[in-house]
Amino acid sequence: MNVLREIAEQVRDGENGRVRYTVSDGGGGYFQNVRRILEFSPDRILLGGKKGKLRIEGEELSLGKCFKGDVAVRGRILRVGREE
């Protein structure tokens, strides 16, 4: 049941237009529902979705494939946080 609730929350986030992401520990990440790239530097990236923003902090950050709302971030991600 917990798994189903988690899946439902993920789906709801996607429908609400928030940025969804998958991050590997000490590595890069994959972000979906990205509408805007508000900031981009080697230690900080700010992504904007339909609703809200997502802040990514880390080291030697760069962008991988960016296409149709999907953005891959390379480098070493240390923190990910939401901003309204």
């Binding site: 981009f40 080697p42 962008l63 991988g64 960016c66 296409f67 149709k68 390379r74």
Partner: protein, 281 residues
């Protein structure tokens, strides 16, 4: 990955990535190089579209370069003439590698070079001929006089014919062995043929001593040597010493020598020897 890297400079240069994405251009990668500069990599097919989008914007395009196979392809197109020349040279080398450009005759039979070249010309082996045609002429080279070993090699455009000759390759005689003088048979060695006389027999000059016999392959063989002794009596108008010298010069080996002074000079009597051989080295 094959794409093109575009180096952009300007304020809020990261907005350029948004512009490209919103225009449907896939961004393969992007990285910051300076505070107001970044490098964006897109597919080579989208290059013109990307330039059209960025042309009217406030970003400076500092540099572009192809990456991956697109970069290699663009360099090949720029150096097309050089590539074509290299390919043509390689093809020419490969073609001429197996063709005759020069003929060399080596070995102890090097003096037979004119005959070798005549054989090659007769068979149509000349400039740019295939090496295989020359190698097929090996039996003809072996048939040259005194040649007992031959190799034909082709490498690097040079046809090398190596001939080795030998004095031991005497043709076997097909004639009978005849006596060189009238006298007595002192020695007779027969390895091939039929002896018609024996040691001690008296023979006439030109008499057949060993007749030819038919061999396994049909030819007639005589391998024999004979030594005939005959008496000599010769007068010389010379002193004794010079008369003996003259006699040895005329008849070679002399035995049982007896000299007699004459009114004009000296008479030399003795036994001389004559040899005849066929098929012996």
């Amino acid at each position: 990955m094959h794409g093109v890297e575009i180096e952009l400079e300007g304020l809020s240069v990261h907005r350029a990535i948004e512009k490209l994405i919103n225009a449907g251009i896939g961004v393969l990668s992007a990285r910051r190089t300076a505070k107001n500069a970044l490098i964006v990599c897109i597919r080579a097919n989208d290059r013109k579209k990307a330039f059209a989008i960025l042309r009217g914007s406030c970003y400076n395009i500092k540099n572009t370069r192809f990456t991956g196979t697109a970069r290699a392809l663009s360099r090949c197109i720029a150096a097309a003439g050089l590539l074509i020349g290299m390919i043509c040279s390689a093809a020419a080398v490969l073609f001429l590698q197996g063709r005759v450009l020069r003929v060399e005759v080596t070995g102890s039979g090097e003096y037979l070079a004119p005959e070798v070249r005549a054989i090659l010309a007769e068979e149509g082996v000349g400039l740019f001929s295939d090496f295989g045609r020359a190698k097929a002429l090996l039996p003809r080279f072996l048939a040259l006089p005194r040649v007992h070993f031959c190799t034909v090699k082709g490498e690097g455009g040079v046809l090398t014919v190596r001939l080795e000759v030998s004095d031991e390759t005497q043709p076997l005689a097909v004639l009978p062995l005849c006596s060189p003088a009238e006298g007595r048979v002192e020695e007779l060695i027969v390895l091939g043929g039929t002896p018609l006389v024996q040691v001690g027999d008296s023979v006439a000059r030109g008499q057949v001593l060993v007749s030819a016999e038919r061999g396994e392959t049909g030819e007639k063989l005589v391998i024999a040597r004979a030594r005939i002794s005959f008496p000599i009596i010769r007068e010389y108008e010379l002193p004794e010493e010079q008369a003996l010298l003259q006699a040895s010069l005329e008849f070679g080996e002399l035995t049982d020598i007896h000299t007699t002074k004459t009114a004009t000079g000296c008479r030399v009597e003795g036994t001389a020897y004559a040899e005849a051989a066929l098929g012996f080295g």
